[in-house]
Point group: C2
Amino acid sequence: MADDPGRTKILLDESRIPRRWYNVLADLPAPPPPPLHPGTREPVGPDDLAPLFPMDFIEQEVSAERYLEIPEEVREVYRLWQPTPLIRARRLERALGTPARIYFKYEGVSPVGSHKPNTAVPQAFYNARQGVRRLTTETGAGQWGSALAFACSVYGLECEVWMVRASYDQKPYRRLMMRTYGARVHASPSPVTTAGAKILADDPDSPGSLGIAISEAVEVAGGADDTRYALGSVLNHVLTHQTVIGEEALEQLASVGETPDLIVGCTGGGSNFAGLSFPFLREKLAGRMSPVIRAVEPAACPSFTRGRYAYDFGDAAGFTPLLKMHTLGHDFVPDPIHAGGLRYHGMAPLLSHMYELGLFEAVAKPQRECFEAGVLFARTEGIVPAPEPTHALAGAIEEARRCAETGEPKVILTALCGHGHFDMAAYDRYLSGEMEDFDLPQERIERSLGRLP
Amino acid sequence: MADDPGRTKILLDESRIPRRWYNVLADLPAPPPPPLHPGTREPVGPDDLAPLFPMDFIEQEVSAERYLEIPEEVREVYRLWQPTPLIRARRLERALGTPARIYFKYEGVSPVGSHKPNTAVPQAFYNARQGVRRLTTETGAGQWGSALAFACSVYGLECEVWMVRASYDQKPYRRLMMRTYGARVHASPSPVTTAGAKILADDPDSPGSLGIAISEAVEVAGGADDTRYALGSVLNHVLTHQTVIGEEALEQLASVGETPDLIVGCTGGGSNFAGLSFPFLREKLAGRMSPVIRAVEPAACPSFTRGRYAYDFGDAAGFTPLLKMHTLGHDFVPDPIHAGGLRYHGMAPLLSHMYELGLFEAVAKPQRECFEAGVLFARTEGIVPAPEPTHALAGAIEEARRCAETGEPKVILTALCGHGHFDMAAYDRYLSGEMEDFDLPQERIERSLGRLP
């Protein structure tokens, strides 16, 4: 090992935390189709969204500005963990015998162990500034819920979280973490909302889904003046907040003279992938580099690769505006894979639009291949990845193995968006040979797509 | 918040990872009393230790050199997480209304989420270089066991861990993490060793203790030529390896022009406290600064404050040499507090000697006060601390509150030696009002002290 004296971990001082979020909307050849009101099928206006979101986000959602200023009060909290390290996976490269150079941007150093606080903090800040008293939200694996609970504790907001039942049962520690930050957590579907009660009446054993949990959180926020709703992915402003990841990675790679040949991230709602790739896409569109950009989604919830690009609801119950996106149908309930954060029926409308424009590729991977990648990564790089980024790692490893055959010394950049310290039960299942790869028959997708609005 | 523009997180580039460990033995006015052979009561020689440890450590254990070179191969692995950040706890300061400035050295960014890899990596490296095939060890909360499992996976060694049953049951995720790194984990007391079987015969429901687990790991290492034993605390060389923490903190504080008035850490076996404080003690002995140095131990296992300074076994069964240390008696079984890593009957002999020399203070704290500190810290600084460093935080907060009364703007340095992502069940008990403070009657201590060898 001592024969390889180059840098392993590329850090930036806190003065290098980006001062602006990058808004990719400004650089697209065409804007994405607007959200529609489900009744009138007319584009929704700011007034339709005001009961749910503060005006800052409604403006950010449609802004044509290339850069949005990050408030000093937000950067002050970002300093706790940002800039996050960019790490070269030298031991993984050696284990693969690849000439590729693999870099991963590691978000697990944040207080909650994932990239989610990048948007939770500004969301809590803007809401607190507007006088909101309580935020509601949904969470899958619990990464988003923990992040919002943390951010609310910083700004003195109440936080109420609907957590997908499959994860609520599998991952009690994330739930307890939210509680430690002072949040209230419900298993979703829950009896405390009309939407939840209705689903429980049909199926008392429902494992839940992100779509259902969103319905519940939106219902409660819509019914109280002092309460707003916060979303951890999917919407433009959320993706924009995450661009700090890519901006930092861009500076970090440049500092060691590297230009990426491949950028590969995991997609559920799409926020981590967007955060990593948008700043590089800006450079690509400007002709300054030409990386291939690739999304990896779970085979059990393949919205890009097997969904339809169509208007659909963002939630299961049909409370949200209609969003044009790659969808498996708003009432599609994915099998209970361990990557709970990727179990969403749709894809961020902005990413869906960009995918249609051909700005990046997408592949789907079954969870066993992903956990195999996760274990190899843990045993070489030491960090046990969350199930979500094992999809990104599986994509990076696939490419690095290809390079081992072709001899190409490609530079691969990926995002390790969280550690798996809350996900050890999933690793146990994998190591015990008990992890299943779910079969997803085409009829099942067609059935839910047949119920598109 | 924006009115406080100073630095929050002080990072160092990986080129600043220390090149040498600091050996405090070189600067003490008198050497600590030597370990004794339990039969002859003569000082043990290198040959007595060779079946358990590689010669590098036997030499480091008694070295009079002030600095020990860190092998390049070890620094190469350290780069994954070192230098760790030093963070100013501005939000905690504000919550306490204190003029004190609180800095914490955060080791939770390591792959396993604690400071333990600082010694696990060199231990695995030296053993691997000497041709050892397998390492055995004990673990309390699982932090040390995870660290050694990680280090063994890096150097291709087998790893076998005896985990204190109380933690094995309370913290399945740490056990699964060790398994993910490829280690084999036993609940201790276990039926696979003579020492464990004997204790199980007397008490089938024994919650175990670090002393018992050490007996088991030592027994297995002593019985196989290709196997050595690794210890996560207590011994001189382990404490020395941890001095990277203090060396980095010294440089980080200096870079912002600060000199500590108080250094406060938690003590179980003593490695984190030693690692943080020794380099500052060097500066103090040289007259370059004059911080108060304070150890905080759990009231349920108070070796400094209520133990006896005497020769005792390091393990429960009496397999180890006799060590002169502050001890509660080698068969003292502490109540099952959640800070499993602090449930050790003795204290590092080096620290015990230094305590007798008056080089630092010690206080004991009950676990509810510590968890109260942990929750306040989580809700202000965002990081949920492991139960062990909540003791250090409780000590720091106590001093900061005192400063709020006196108006003294003291600089307080503490060590957050690990995150609590594996310890959420303990927080749940605390928040539910179900956490107990154990009563430790003097007779119970006297009883086990009556059985000193």
